[in-house]
């Protein structure tokens, strides 16, 4: 391979690499940057029929139940962002963190009746790390109420779909 040849190969591979990098970023910068929408966005911006979308929110306390559909066990729960809620049906394995009041991101499709048939449920944990004793003590002191219905700060973790400025 001559020197000129190698330079050509290097140049092309660099362009390819940079293109891939920028392409990935741009893909992420389009609508897909928003990993999920909130339940209250569902009414104003309904997803196209037959298209999968992700919805994020807290599992509404008291809404989780197991039902049977076509003889198979299916989990039914509601995902809320404090303003609106959507009912989700899911037949797969739930993540360990799944519980009432937990943040979740659900991938699914809209059913004709407006409920969501989920194909994937991911748990979204927040940025707070606390040992159980501390959270128990705080709960006893009444200073901290996680997942209390309705959430004191309605789902702060779930920001609106439009970009918001970073915290000051």
């Amino acid at each position: 391979m001559t020197r000129k040849h190698r330079r050509l190969v290097v140049l092309i591979s660099c362009l390819f690499g940079l293109g891939a990098g920028v392409g990935l970023t741009l893909t992420a910068l389009s609508d897909n940057v928003v990993f999920f929408v909130a339940p209250s966005d569902l009414a104003s911006k309904p997803p196209r029929a037959g298209r999968s979308f992700r919805i994020g929110g807290l599992v509404e306390p008291g809404s989780v139940s197991q039902i049977r559909q076509d003889g198979k066990p299916v989990m039914q729960f509601r995902v809320t962002d404090g303003k609106a809620a959507a009912t989700v049906y899911y037949a797969g394995v739930l993540p360990d963190l799944f519980r009432e009041g937990q943040g979740v991101v659900v991938l699914g499709m809209l059913r004709p009746d407006g409920d969501i048939a989920a194909s994937e449920v991911l748990a979204k944990h927040d940025e707070t790390y606390m040992p159980p004793e501390v959270s128990d003590a705080l709960k006893k002191a009444g200073q901290w109420a996680p997942a209390a219905p309705p959430p004191a700060k309605p789902a702060m973790d779930f920001r609106p779909a439009t970009p918001v400025p970073a915290k000051p």
């Binding site: 690499g17 927040d126 790390y129 606390m130």
Partner: protein, 255 residues
Amino acid sequence: MKFPPAIAPRPGHILHRFANPGRFLRLASVVQPYLTGIALVLVGIGLGWGLFIAPGDRFQHDAMRIIYIHVPAAWLASSGYFGLAICSILSLVWRHKLADLAAAEISPVGAAITALALVTGSIWGKPMWGAWWVWDARLTSVLVLFFLYLGHIALVRAFDDPERGQRAGAILALVGVVNLPIIKFSVDWWNTLHQPASITLSGSASMDPGILWPLLLSAAGFSLGFAALVMARLRAAVMEWRIRGLLLTRTREAG
């Protein structure tokens, strides 16, 4: 199009004009053992404390102990790239030999630590989120950072003339700097599965002190370890550069 012939390092001139690599070698051989030692001690204390003494999270229990390597690795992935960018500016604008060599040594270490951040994050994500990988803004932008490191590694070593490779690598590194704010603010700007920062400069760490302290110790240790590794590799690179120069003088004198 005509390309200038490959410029071999001119040992006699460059070595005397840029005394800095020599001064670096002397200074670095003194600093190296201390840097390495302190890094090892801090990482040992941080990880030992985090694994065996620190409490588990109320929801995540023991799985969150991965934080003691994931978070330092992720911080270093970004700050290492920042160091690479500074070296690139030094080498492009001031043509500093040591910066050229340093940039070429930062990127392999940076790529390794970025890979570590991605993989440990994945191992943490599977049991907690329920997925090894998702294409959210934070994960995607860190993956792009990894590709930038790989591109720099390949580019710097791809030319016959090392200076040409260093120049091209510096340009690539500087183009990639746009990615750093995207990584940092992705979790604030857009909905992501990844949670926002727990530790902010404004001081309100949403983290129990029993978890925060080992994390900070571990992060400090990893950072010093990163510096120690880059320093050792840079020493080797300076020596190899000198060897090339000496060999070249010999062949010239012989011929």
